[in-house]
């Protein structure tokens, strides 16, 4: 599937002497996707340092001297995606998979989620079972909330990252390397920023699991970056730290 999108973020900067941002906003071409064009527009991007981070991602360090007011970041690009049944395989700059068995503060295991799960029945089946459980366990209270007392539909507080962290924590507790993945997901006419998981299998390599949607990412997912957890994979980290969440829009563009 050919996907063309534009992602715009607006941040209030204040007026520091220097501002610095660490970007994880550049997708790699993988067996699941071919990046046809990609660009980031923001003040200072022309002089930015581009480098590979510890998790194999393409990262940028962007700085501004005496910036004023608002920082606008616009990412636009075109990617062709392929359905590989979720299998990413191995990427050239991936660190050792064992690294992704490291538990972090955000990826705590929930014993209930892994109760009775055993790798004996084959890892792929186990991971699917885990995705199912996470989807049910995390998603269930949200549905109850939606049918709440006021009787009107309300936005769930749940973010894709809650599903991803629950999955990762459980997988790591089972000694299976699992990593946090950011990207975009396309749902018919709309696109949104999203997060899912990749888990390791010695035979197939990295396999994607999207517990929020309860499916393995296929043509609908554009993969940006991977890391230990949401914090280590934030699309933009900044100093001074932004007080508010950015105002952002993701648009699908016609080819």
């Amino acid at each position: 599937m050919k996907i063309s999108l534009r992602h715009t973020m607006r941040f209030s900067l204040g007026s520091p002497a220097h501002a610095a941002e660490h970007l994880l906003l550049t997708p790699l071409s993988t067996p699941q996707q071919k990046v046809e064009r990609w660009s980031i527009e923001m003040p200072g991007i022309a002089e930015a340092a581009a480098f590979r981070d510890a998790f194999g991602n393409r990262a940028h360090l962007v700085t501004q001297t005496r910036p004023e007011g608002e920082l606008v970041v616009t990412i636009s690009g075109a990617v062709e995606t392929f359905d590989k049944a979720g299998v990413l395989g191995r990427l050239e700059y991936d660190p050792m998979p064992a690294l992704f068995r490291r538990a972090t503060a955000e990826t705590k295991a929930d014993p209930a989620l892994i109760e009775g799960l055993s790798p004996v029945g084959g890892r792929i089946a186990l991971l699917h079972e885990l995705m199912d459980r996470v989807h049910q366990a995390i998603g269930a209270p949200a549905q109850m909330q939606v049918q709440g007392a006021e009787g009107q539909a309300q936005d769930s507080e749940l973010e894709p990252q809650d599903f991803a962290h629950a999955f990762i924590g459980s997988a790591r507790a089972l000694r299976i390397p699992a990593r946090y993945v950011t990207g975009y997901v396309i749902d018919e006419e709309t696109a949104s920023f999203h997060a899912w998981v990749e888990a390791w299998d010695e035979g197939l390599g990295w396999i994607g699991f999207d517990a929020a949607l309860n499916l393995c990412p296929a043509e609908t997912h554009v993969r940006l970056a991977a890391g230990l957890d949401a914090t280590s994979t934030m699309p933009i980290r900044a100093v001074p730290v932004w007080g508010e969440m950015p105002a952002e829009t993701v648009e699908l563009l016609a080819e």
Binding site: H22, E47, A49, T63, R101
Partner: protein
């Protein structure tokens, strides 16, 4: 102290004087009765005027103390030194190879020689360092190895300090003071120089400058500021090697490069000897609340535009729990047996070993895995039954947080105290520089426990220092 009297650096059990100390003994005999007392007083004046002080944690902020200096040098023969330095060199080679491996292919973990969990789940392991290729493949450029001696040929490594070992300024100033106080002794001995350290530090740093830094890279020492206990050392080293002494606020990152704010505008910095802990180095990558660091510094490092000395994440190789595996690490990377011994260490997470520890705690030394400076440590034979109980409870509550070792009979060295010259326990920290070559400064810092019978030599716990002489052949 249990057991026979410990090995003395100067005097054998039969009362005869060991060869390296013969001239010193003669010299001591020649001194008039008051001379040593006067020398000690002079020494204090020299140190105080020069402003060599350290801050003591837990006391009032800004309280400064002098580390007591003992005027009787500790002397090491050329043969002893050759053995020691071979062992040290072997260790720093292996530990740098280990760091490169665990931040790349992790072969030693795959081979099962070191438990994967111990490394990858360790808080001293720095995942952000994965895949980074430091200049010359070196992670720890500045190392201080803590060594104790229990017999004529019996040396143990207590700790490999691969993060930011301190104390080298005392090594240099102790020598300076000794040259002023007892010039005649230096005429009778051939003492290997330690004054070369700052120049060698400079060369080491230059040799790991990033590509494109040119033939004369700009060096900086990054300090947390004057309230840090080692500020004197930071300014001293910067001065001695001609580097800029910077605080975080003096540096900034632009276009992926690091600059100092100077009176003439920004100046590019190529190599930074950072004396700020990993967590505080860069709020963009590590602790976001750090006011000490430089935003973007780590990314500039990853982009290959600056070299950090030592690299972040070196703490994994001197972690007290990893320490037990150093002989294994040496064998794995160098195919050699370790030349210097490790102190046998009990692992409290093992039920059998824990039982032994709890029963024999009165004979053992208990250390916190992430502790340093002698804080949070128990020396069994020197503690009360009440303290033993407290530490038993601590070990039971968090067995993984402690390592336990037998109490070593640290060697003693004659020391000038109120009552005259008396033996006091000492250790030794030689300083190693790793760059285009491995340079070990002949000598190091001898720390001495000034209280009779005490085995704790840390300056924060009332320890002093001695000038350390390595004799030339």
């Amino acid at each position: 102290m249990p057991g026979p009297s410990p090995f003395d650096e100067m005097t054998n059990a039969d009362g005869s004087v060991r060869e390296p100390y013969l001239i010193l003994e003669q010299w001591l005999k020649e001194q008039p009765p008051q001379a040593l007392g006067l020398m000690a007083a002079d020494a204090e004046g020299i140190f105080r005027r020069l402003g060599i002080t350290f801050a003591v944690y837990g006391s009032n902020e800004g309280t400064e103390k002098l580390i007591p200096f003992d005027i009787i040098p500790r002397i090491i023969s050329a043969i002893e030194w050759r053995r020691l330095s071979k062992g040290i060199e072997q260790r720093v080679r292996a530990l740098n190879a280990f760091l490169h491996d665990i931040y790349h292919r992790q072969e030693i973990l795959k081979a099962g020689r070191v438990p994967e969990k111990l490394i990858l789940n360790n808080s001293a392991f720095c995942p952000e360092m994965m895949g980074l290729e430091p200049a010359r493949g070196i992670y720890s450029h500045i190392i201080g190895v803590d060594i104790v001696r229990v017999g004529p040929d019996d040396f143990y490594v207590l700790e490999d300090n691969l993060r930011t070992p301190s104390g080298v300024s005392y090594m240099l100033e102790d020598r300076e003071a000794m040259l002023q106080l007892a010039p005649d002794l230096f005429q009778r001995y051939k003492v290997a120089p330690v004054e070369t350290y700052p120049e060698n530090l400079r060369r080491t740093m230059e040799s790991v400058a990033p590509a494109g830094a040119g033939s004369s890279p700009t060096l900086a020492v990054l300090t947390p500021g004057i309230y840090n206990s080692a500020y004197f050392e930071h300014s001293f080293l910067a001065d001695q090697m001609g580097a800029e002494l910077c605080e975080g606020q003096d540096l900034f990152v632009e276009n992926g490069k690091v600059y100092a704010r100077t009176t003439m505008g920004p100046r590019r910095i190529d190599v930074i000897y950072r004396r700020i802990d990993d967590d505080f180095l860069d709020p963009l990558t590590f602790r976001p609340d750090s006011m000490l660091g430089v935003p973007g510094l780590f990314d500039a490092y990853r982009a290959g535009n600056v070299t950090l000395v030592n690299a972040p994440g070196t703490g994994i190789a001197d972690d007290k729990a990893v320490y037990t595996y150093v002989p294994e690490i040496i064998e794995f990377y160098l195919g050699e047996k370790a030349l210097l011994k490790n102190v046998p260490t009990y692992n409290c997470t093992d039920a059998e070993q824990r039982a032994y520890v709890l029963e024999h705690i009165a004979e053992l030394v208990v250390k916190e895995v992430h502790g340093s400076g002698g804080y949070g440590m128990l020396v069994g034979p020197a503690s009360t039954a009440e303290m033993h109980d407290i530490f038993r409870a601590k070990i039971l509550a968090r067995p993984d947080n402690y390592i336990v070792q037998p109490t070593l009979a640290l060697s003693t060295c004659p020391t000038f105290v109120d009552a005259g010259i008396a033996p006091r326990h000492v250790d030794l920290r030689p300083y190693v520089l790793v760059g285009d070559q491995i340079r070990i400064t002949p000598g190091g810092l001898t720390r001495v426990a000034l209280t009779e019978g005490s085995l704790v030599v840390n300056s924060s716990q009332g320890g002093g220092t001695k000038d350390t002489w390595v004799l030339e052949e």
